[in-house]
Symmetry: C2
Subunit: 326 residues, 2 copies
């Protein structure tokens, strides 16, 4: 076994995990912390460690950390000796509610996020709510963005619960966190089970992500947290959904209020031009046959993947985000 | 579509392939030629090209070249945007009879060959015998090593045919080559169909490869051709099989003669010590739970994967290879 962790999480939880595995031979590799290290070079540190410790095809990798550690460990597991087992032990809210479940693994490329990866399922996901106590507020909030996403795309009742419980959730209340993690994982698993390799419906999990990825890439990986960019992206998707007549302007404002209560940003960076967005969104994986497809809301609680919108509408949303902050 | 080729093959055949695809948008990326470039860095050149030309999930990669191009293109296809289609157009005998069929893709790591990769099947394999006319003799011979392998592991009749037709085969006779490619692919496909992910029987395709990989790694990738190392490795496996009482010493000598007629080496490099082999064989993927497993011959035409041999027998084979040239 090889535990893969990073310089932030390892000092906090590595020994706790190792002490639970004393009957196994356990090696470790500690990666630098941050989205900016989620690349082929850092991935190679995992291969270096596995090979220098002579791990073979029967080894199991354990991802102890947030989404970056999970994505890289999963991808390393998918291609080390053409595939070994791995287990996710997510230590951030974001990874507990999203990236650890569903088998998407990847690293970034300078020209695009998550461009190199694999669909590869973990053998188990072990989410311990108590580790969230050491998570900085900004990262807790970033995780809440993805929690809100599940309400928006497929679960009106959950969205109502979030509106009633956002303060508890954003202030680390254990009961609220347990509920949020459980419901998020159930919603995500239900969507992924229908479409593991993202041929169709799974893409609704990317609500806000095409806009969000453009923000992350423009700002440089790691400057905006993924969840923060998704929060702003979800507001942009909601704004477009309103312009297309699917939801009300009040729905958009309510979403902004909910995200603000979670201490999340809900407008894109002021300096990003419409063209910046257009350029960066074109290389996103949701571009099919040259036509940009976006995840939009059909209603609060139902999402749709569509390219059925005019360039004008898109430009209006981009301009609104930049000039007015909605 | 993106054709992936190398600096040797592209000047010969790139235009021919492109002229058959005029109804498609076809880009190309030309890699440096050689096993020493089969690494993550060169792989990244494929990703760079795909991203700068904005290829999306619906693209198809075409591997135009030998095993190195095929292995890298297949692995790139398996992980570009988490998986796109690819087609093998193998231009060496080695890749036509072996690497293009079966879905093993990979790049090397400084600490071991093919350590990073995926099981990922091509949508089609298109083997044109006429391209072998431009293949240097040394590479034709290297391909014949893998052809001989099929006879040894699973096809006594084919082994007999090879003994009767080796001179024709080694001198580019089109009829002999057609027969050899067809029978090799049939044999390989039959083995892979039983065990795609190499949980068991597929490993017999690695006859000679554990010894061979040790030779390649020791000499530096690209100094010995893969097929040359496999040829010497098969003789070592045959020598061990004789020492274990499975085949006769005459069988070993006959194999050496057959390989020599194909202008293949059949002893390992003189400077490699027993310890060099032991060290390098331990990191091979066939090491399971710390125990070295080897593909050996039960008889001519039947292989077995086994760890049922003494260290003494292995050392005798290693010493025989080094001191006596068998």
């Amino acid at each position: 076994m090889m535990i893969v962790s990073n310089t932030t999480v390892a000092p906090l939880y590595l020994e706790r995990v190792k002490s639970a595995l004393t009957q196994f031979e356990v090696d470790e590799v500690i990666l630098p912390d941050g989205e900016e290290y989620k690349n082929l070079e850092t991935l190679n540190l995992i291969f270096d460690a596995l090979l220098s410790k002579r791990h073979n095809r029967t080894t199991t990798l354990i991802a102890l950390g947030g989404g970056v550690v999970g994505d890289m460990t999963g991808f390393a597991a998918s291609c080390y000796q053409r595939g070994v087992d791995f287990i996710q032990v997510p230590t951030t809210l974001l990874s507990q509610v999203d990236s650890s479940v569903g088998g998407k693994t990847a690293v970034n490329h300078p020209m695009g996020k998550n461009m190199i990866g694999a669909f590869y399922q973990p053998k188990a996901v072990i989410a311990d709510i108590t580790v969230l106590n050491t998570l900085p507020q900004r990262e807790l909030s970033a995780g809440i963005a993805e929690v809100v996403k599940y309400g928006l795309i497929c679960n009106t009742k959950f969205y109502g619960w979030l509106n009633a419980n956002m303060e508890a959730l954003a202030s680390y209340d254990a009961q609220a966190l347990t509920m949020a993690v459980e419901l998020s994982c159930l919603d995500k698993a239900a969507v992924v089970a229908k479409d593991e390799r993202e041929g169709g419906i799974r893409a609704i999990l990317n609500l806000g992500h095409t806009f969000g990825h453009a923000i992350e890439t423009n700002q440089g990986y790691g400057v905006w947290l993924h969840g923060e960019a998704v929060a702003a992206g979800m507001v942009m998707a909601a704004d477009m959904s309103w312009r297309l007549g699917n939801i009300s302007q009040q729905d958009v404002h309510d979403l902004q209020s909910l995200l603000k209560r979670a201490q999340l940003p809900c407008i894109p960076p002021a300096e990003m031009s419409n063209q910046d967005f257009i350029d960066l969104m074109q290389v996103d994986k949701k571009v099919l046959d040259g036509k940009l497809r976006l995840v939009l809301l059909k209603s609060i609680g139902e999402a749709v993947v569509t390219s059925d919108f005019s360039a004008d509408t898109l430009h209006q949303t981009l301009a609104a985000g930049k000039q007015l902050g909605f």
